[in-house]
Amino acid sequence: MASIVSLHDGVRDLVRDGDVVAMEGFTHLIPFAAGHEIIRQGRRDLTLVRMTPDVIYDQLIGAGCARKLVFSWGGNPGVGSLHRFRDAVQNDWPVPLEIEEHSHAGMANRYVAGASGLPFAVLRGYTGTDLVRHTENIKTVTCPFTGEVLTAVPPVNPDVAIIHAQRADRSGTVQMWGITGVQKEAVLAAKRSLVTVEEIVDELTPVPGGVVLPSWVVTAVAEVPGGAAPSYAQGYYERDNDAYKAWDAVGRDRDTFTTWLSDTLGVGARA
């Protein structure tokens, strides 16, 4: 059964230096507050996994928390590039960043394999692309019935998955709705999980489109109202599009970013 914890304690207990960490949320319900707490607690050498590394991963990368990024699309949605991500890939700042890149279909199926306890997933994907030449984690498998050659990808099984959801009950059963992306798979694929929620309630009333993660597959739940901002939490608050646009100028310059890190999260430059 899940423990109800503070965000500080959840990150302290569940996220360790060197861990493979998957923070998911497809535009919606992005666990920003948890990401900031990881930066505050100064985690290092993380392998960060995420289909769509956006501003939160730009911040983690810029703060020097990551040594590797596994992803399928890295950008500031609706705005442009991730400058901290670019700076790390192109210039090793603040630390070198190894990358392993996939397609969305490939990453989604890697989580599915992870959640399913399988050593690989099969898909029609990547065929003919140069992605295949740059990762060992894309292979082929032959259909035993037709002889057709398909693509295989290995599971993602993070040490810890971190997601944000709308609600949990006091037992730690989690409920989310709206666009729920690959979050269920991420939690089920992970060894441990931390779920931040807008609120903890006495009873979870069913809602249309609701996805429930029972308490017994969740490690810890922390109540963090606004924990997905500046992304959005359907039913709670809207996406702060201005914050995404404003990030472009902050992320573009190392000094501006370092100042932001210090002013916003109280963290000195470490790298």
């Binding site: 609706g78 969305h104 029609r124 692309t129 709206g178």
Partner: protein, 261 residues
């Protein structure tokens, strides 16, 4: 953005012409897999004009979204709230895209080449030390592989239209006719590349992109000079019909309130 020449009634920008041409390409289409940006603008314009029943599918998992305005991101709340159904991201790729259920995939490109291969990964030929690191693949490789056909919307520039992309993120026609079949890709591939100058289509014999339509006021020379290879021109070159007043009114109603242009 340059302003295209006036007609008697209306003026429009080259971007507007591009969006309108892209929107028209969705005639007769049931379901369309939409990326954010120009593809989303075109698809929503189509839904508001000639294709009210067009089903918009976004990779965030929304099936049949009917947003009032233009979504600002691929996972906009309005996409979920107006959808017939919201499914998981694995499901959208495995049950909906992969089996070829979606007629048209709408893609953008950072680089596109002679055979309509698309690069959204890196500029520069050394992957490990790129000149520019781009966002990466996202849903594009499988959209390009599995949709019935693909429509690419991209502004012309010598930087974007190259003889051969630095990195094949999404396969168009590979190195020419027959490559898609050899690779076992289910969809027919890019049927049109719609730019701010005109429309390119694959030559039926070679699959090389060929200029088949010029937007009003654009010369063949203008269309060819921003292409990084010796662009062929179709013998049946036509002029794209200009945007109608209705198309422009709807398009501006979609794009202006959000201030996204």
């Amino acid at each position: 953005m340059t302003t295209a020449p006036e007609t008697t009634e209306v003026t429009w920008t080259s971007d507007e012409m591009m969006s309108v041409a892209a929107s028209r390409a969705l005639g007769g289409v049931t379901a369309c897999f939409v990326g954010i940006g120009l593809p989303s603008t075109a698809a929503n314009l189509a839904r508001r004009t000639h294709a009210p029943d067009l089903v918009l599918v976004y990779e965030s998992g929304t099936l049949g979204s009917k947003p009032d305005g233009l979504p600002l991101s691929i996972g906009d709340g309005a996409l979920a709230q107006t959808a017939d159904a919201v499914v998981s991201v694995p499901e959208i790729f495995n049950y909906w895209l992969q089996p070829g259920r979606i007629d048209v995939g709408f893609l953008g490109a950072a680089q596109i080449d002679r055979y309509a291969n698309i690069n959204t990964t890196v500029i520069g030929t050394d992957y490990a030390d790129p000149k520019v690191r781009l966002p990466g693949a996202g849903g594009a490789p499988e959209i390009a592989a599995s949709c019935g056909e693909v429509i690419v919307v991209v502004r012309q520039s010598a930087r974007s239209f190259v003889d051969r992309v630095d990195f094949v993120t999404s396969v168009g026609y590979g190195r020419g006719k027959g490559d898609r079949e050899r690779l076992g890709l289910c969809g027919r591939g890019p049927s049109r590349v719609i730019t701010d100058k005109g429309i390119l289509e694959p030559d039926p014999d070679t699959c090389e992109l060929t200029l088949t339509s010029l937007h009003p006021g654009v010369t063949v020379r203008e269309a060819r000079e921003s292409i990084g290879w010796d662009l062929r021109v179709s013998r049946d070159l036509v002029t794209t019909p200009p945007p109608t007043g209705e198309e422009l009114t709807v398009l501006r109603g979609l794009t202006d309130p959000k201030g996204s242009k």
